[in-house]
Symmetry: C2
Subunit: 415 residues, 2 copies
Amino acid sequence: MKIRKIPGGFTAAKGFKAASCEAGIKYQNRRDMALLFTDVPCAVAGTFTSNKVKAAPVLWDMDIVKSGKPARAVVVNTGIANAGTGAEGMRLCSETAKHTAQVLGISPDSVLVGSTGVIGPNVPLDRITAGVTAMAGLLSDSAEASTLASKAIMTTDTVNKEFAVAFDLPAASGDGTVTVHLGGMSKGSGMIHPNMCTMLGYLATDCAIAPELLQKALSAVIKDTFNMITVDGDTSTNDTLLLFSSGLAENKPVTEEDESYELFCAALYSVCRDLSMLMASDGEGATHLLEIRVFHADTKENARILARSVAGSSLVKAMIYGKDANCGRVLCALGYAGPEFDPANIVITMTGESGSVCFYKDGCVQVFNEDKALEILSEHDVHFDCDMNMGSEEATAWGCDLTYDYVKINGDYRT
Amino acid sequence: MKIRKIPGGFTAAKGFKAASCEAGIKYQNRRDMALLFTDVPCAVAGTFTSNKVKAAPVLWDMDIVKSGKPARAVVVNTGIANAGTGAEGMRLCSETAKHTAQVLGISPDSVLVGSTGVIGPNVPLDRITAGVTAMAGLLSDSAEASTLASKAIMTTDTVNKEFAVAFDLPAASGDGTVTVHLGGMSKGSGMIHPNMCTMLGYLATDCAIAPELLQKALSAVIKDTFNMITVDGDTSTNDTLLLFSSGLAENKPVTEEDESYELFCAALYSVCRDLSMLMASDGEGATHLLEIRVFHADTKENARILARSVAGSSLVKAMIYGKDANCGRVLCALGYAGPEFDPANIVITMTGESGSVCFYKDGCVQVFNEDKALEILSEHDVHFDCDMNMGSEEATAWGCDLTYDYVKINGDYRT
């Protein structure tokens, strides 16, 4: 197999370390800060929330990514988002970076920051700087350090999220191939909606690759991964996805869109898709993963819009939770998505491990086997295949069901 | 006062009758069909769902409204939506109209139809025609008949919805003024999202008005009323709003956009706004009415988009239910709505009967009085005022909170 799953996350590639600690920012008795560090100056690509209200850490990181300057570290906290904090919020980013730079002996403009939690005032800078000081002495390239860091950035997540892959590229020496690694972590459970990128995510690779291709690959891959998940339709103010490359794999540098670049993109897609699916599956209160595949669409973008519309429908999500095969709601959600189509030509099928049920074709909702439908809806992963019969494009969106617990979690989030 | 609220609904204006019955279509032991009738041939204006999948009754009614032919009756059933039913669904509309025409001695192409309920097959035509036969003998212009009809078209609604107003226009005789009436009913509780018009609604006036102005007034008014409410973001396949005019008020016919037309529009707005607010307030599982007012926006359309975004946010809705003043979520929902604005310039205030709390200004979420916020969130109606500080346009959107009961109702709708 060209792309091989391997254990680990952010530290799976050569040149990356992680640490975490209990800084007591809001949560008690759990790790709530992470420090990510690169052994060498790294190129960094990034994608950020499309929300007009961008949290201070987003603005801070956007500046660094845009400048093209090498990156060395990321400081992440949970509990409070440093959003809606104006000039004071920017000062907090600056102070955090300055302190981190001092402790680690690097430049302040090589330090990125990330925050997630409640939107509002009172970010405790003293606890954040104390956390950085404590973590600086704990940095490690072990898988355990990476896992603990991926747990430290969780908010309402119930599981930590990290994946890594390895693949082979031509060696820089010109003699055979070398193994290249790409891994990362992400968090996100609520305020999740596809509009780049609805979460915090940190990816690292040792692949030697031109910085502009690093950004190009990231921007392309998120369209079919992080931008295709939805939990609640709310696009966060803090969404940040960063991809670092250390170049330490000693591969022949990827400088054009050749086979090596394609393989790198496929590896990046693999990690991003797995993180995305796990985030959808771990949506706040979720008991089901919902996968919507739209195929034979006229354009790629229409396929994405249609799939996301179904994955985001409150009524579809509620029926999955209730195991009620009220499948006209899938048809309805395709209909209000926006793209034109002829309802007479599409076919909608629900599938699971235990079989499948076609519930719409020839312009009519079908009479289907209710027992079989209930059997499928009793599985954790529920799939809807929507054949548009219009062309050759396809897209897949991921979501989750809408449950009492989503309401409970978000009716009382601050306390 | 120019526009006076009066008791009644669809039959408040001269020339309109209503009837209802227990047809046993899906619900048992309750009225589930209504018949609306006009004493004279009426002009009819209509607006319909923007969903690409339009239920058969929507297609049927669109044809009649477009044809400009006079209308005489509407047959409405609840329980099953006659959507996703293809050619068979159209045949059911045709058979229903044909039977109704026979019973009432009118033309089949003057009979409109409306359905709401589960999307799917097995519409019981025999029960619908039996219902029409029974109702034909019960038609009445009483307020009670109107109220019973407004109850008969409910699905998950917990209250029936009807309003009426009276206002004065110059008399056709040229001598003084005459009193003109406008009233109507609507239903809708779930699958409610602003995209024309997310519900069934039937309005009637005795105002003599040119048919093109009748349609123009309706199309204009829905933009600030029915299109500004949201319950769950799902735009139905069956949304239909019809406005009939009998012309029996003996006013000087309204034939241009003069003062009389403005007054007619204001009366129409009044009835549509009251029906809209009641629909939002009666959203499935709702315990609060949520009113979002956006003002000092740069354009009217941006004001509408921003207000609807906040009203539709799952996280805002959940926090209202939980009485948790996590007000950064309102800021966040403005931010992902789409329109450009400078977060540093806006001011967001939450208000209720008991006072108000400013929680965002000068680019920062404010430290506010939590007790006061809890007091406001304990009221039924919660208002957010969003001052964009950009221009002079404003819009108001209405929604409701997201509750356990919404999930419960929609996790098990078919049974």
